[in-house]
Symmetry: C2
Subunit: 108 residues, 2 copies
């Protein structure tokens, strides 16, 4: 049977590409999502965008870019989704990178 739509593909730790990760982090909205997840996993419904009226399809697309780059994990939880930062995988593949990004002061 075909893979259930509810479990989305995640790249393996060893397959993470630096340029893809940097690109995913280079958008302010996506970076803000990552900052929220730095404090721990979050249900997607509790992960808010700067503009709360953003359509859900747009939000879903932002998550897709982050997920496909290997920055976040997106798993089914109940009827929603649980988002988490792949901090260990990122640290293993690109030591120091995610820490410096999270540590950087927020842009004005």
């Amino acid at each position: 049977m075909a893979p259930d739509i509810t479990d989305l593909p995640h790249p393996d730790r060893t397959d993470l590409r630096l340029t893809d990760v940097l690109f995913a982090l280079s958008d302010p909205e996506r970076l803000a999502i990552v900052r929220q997840l730095a404090d721990g996993p979050l249900e997607m419904a509790q992960c808010h965008l700067s503009d709360p009226s953003t359509p859900k399809s747009t939000k879903s697309h932002l998550m897709k870019v982050l997920r496909e780059a290997g920055v976040i994990r997106n798993e089914t939880l109940g009827r929603g989704r649980r988002l988490s930062l792949r901090q260990d995988d990122l640290e293993a593949r690109f030591p120091g990178l995610i820490g410096s990004v999270l540590g950087a002061s927020v842009d004005r």
Copy 2:
């Protein structure tokens, strides 16, 4: 008199924006340029792209993106240009970032 075309604008250290820097570094060709400059300044003519037949206008545009993000400095030197990585400024503004990027293994 109008500013000479030969000295290009560079953002001040304090004005560097994380997302712009990450975006500039997120392109494989631009990242390769940055890696070359990690060993020290280089004349632009000696800074080679993966495809040597790339038009000079394209090469110039790659440098523009890096310069406007504050990643590199581009100064007149003789009849050419001297390129350098703004390592100190990057380190001051985003501690650890450029080091982790340069330290990361090259993508396959």
